[in-house]
Amino acid sequence: MGTPVDVVVTTAGRESHTRIVATLIRLTGDWDLAEDCAQEALALALERWPAEGVPNNPGGWLMTVARNRAIDALRRANLERRKLSELASLPLDPPAPAHDDRLRLIFTCCHPALSLEARVALTLRTVAGMPTADIARAFLVTESTMTRRLTRAKDKIAQARIPYRVPSGAALNERLPSVFAVLYLLFSRGYDADGEPAFADEAIRLTRLLARLMSDSEVDALLALFLLQHSRRAARRDADGNLLTLAEQDRARWDLDAITEALRILPSTDGPYALQARIAACHVAEKTDWTRIAELYDQLATVVPSPVVLLNRAVAHGYAQSPATGLAMLESARVGGGLDGYPLALAAEADMTARAGDRWRAVSLYEQAAAVAPSPAEQQALLRRATELSLNGGG
């Protein structure tokens, strides 16, 4: 009792949006129609529920209204009978098959034949139901540019006939990275110092949905990884908004529920996200086991030998063994130029140089890192460390 009707509508709408849109796309093949009908059902709920009361099954009510709107629209457009009869036979309370539709929707929105930016925009708009204006603002483009991007993506799906289907067998494994890339970009966008925090929540919500819809250890691992990183969101800055390192953070402000959930679902497999999630789990432990972290990075480096992984591996060995070992590994990670101008590589070198005893060189490295830092918050955090080091030797 006591929950305002508009809150009930918003919650029911949020929960059933993906299901309604996903089902209507399958039945009508019309993405815009599906979104419009879901939207209209929500508007009607806001109009009716305050006077008539909230129905027993709000999601079922919304699905029925949306489906009826779709039937009306198709009837008006005089489309073929087959689609209409399929629509009319749709059960009132959508049971299990709707799950497949949501998964179909995710895989279609994340099809690798679409550009990554189109995939991200389409996923936010269609799967998450985020307003186009909000997506446009987060990606620093005008609403009309974002509308065009979404239209182009939907046109390509229709014209090139990208199938509305969950890939099976070997194709599923081939296509999952394309879904992960979207979720990862979304999460990073929310996690970055100057990012949109709502995007991290949205990435977690979508990954949780994916984990519910399919059984794959890398999906669970990705969710665990997001939860572990997100658990520190309230502790990442001090009262003045300065970014804090892990060691400086107040652990009491970490989100214990998120950590507990992450540790519960953490898989013991050796996929790239499983390894990263286990590393993240080491970082939230009471005492940081650097030897274990270094081992996990050794393993990760064989699966994903990217410059950033090699950098983190060097840092881990810099703690597990000695700063000199870490510096030597950083040197070899730099071969190929993948870390050139990367502020975190300079910051890591500065940290290890300071611990190796060369304080003034470390100060200069922190200043160089600050000069190339992508955001003012990160720049200030690096300059602060340079100052601390030059004043008192960094403790």
């Binding site: 099809h111 034949a113 014209q159 090139a160 006939r161 990208i162 199938p163 289907r165 890939p167 194709a171």
Partner: protein
Amino acid sequence: MKYMMFVCTDTEPETDESLVPDINTWVDENDRAGRRVTGNQLVPPSSATTVRVRGGELLLTDGPFAETKEVIVGFDILECADLDEAIEVARTHSMAHAGRIELRPFHQD
């Protein structure tokens, strides 16, 4: 659904030739399965002729429409259920490895 497959060269082809599949096998398999409607190789763009008519006057140019590093060296027309099937067909073409392939759906009314 028909797809035009533009078969093109690429500046960074597969370096390990043992990984490049045999083109004759590809043609035979897809002809037999009814997925390849037609297709052929083209002579180099140096033998191309560009045709334009402006104000009723015929203008001929020796050579291709635009000079690019990647050139179309052949084409195939595929009949496939959807893009995923067309991608599966294209990935086993030798030039997906030794060059690149562009898939373009036919216009639908």
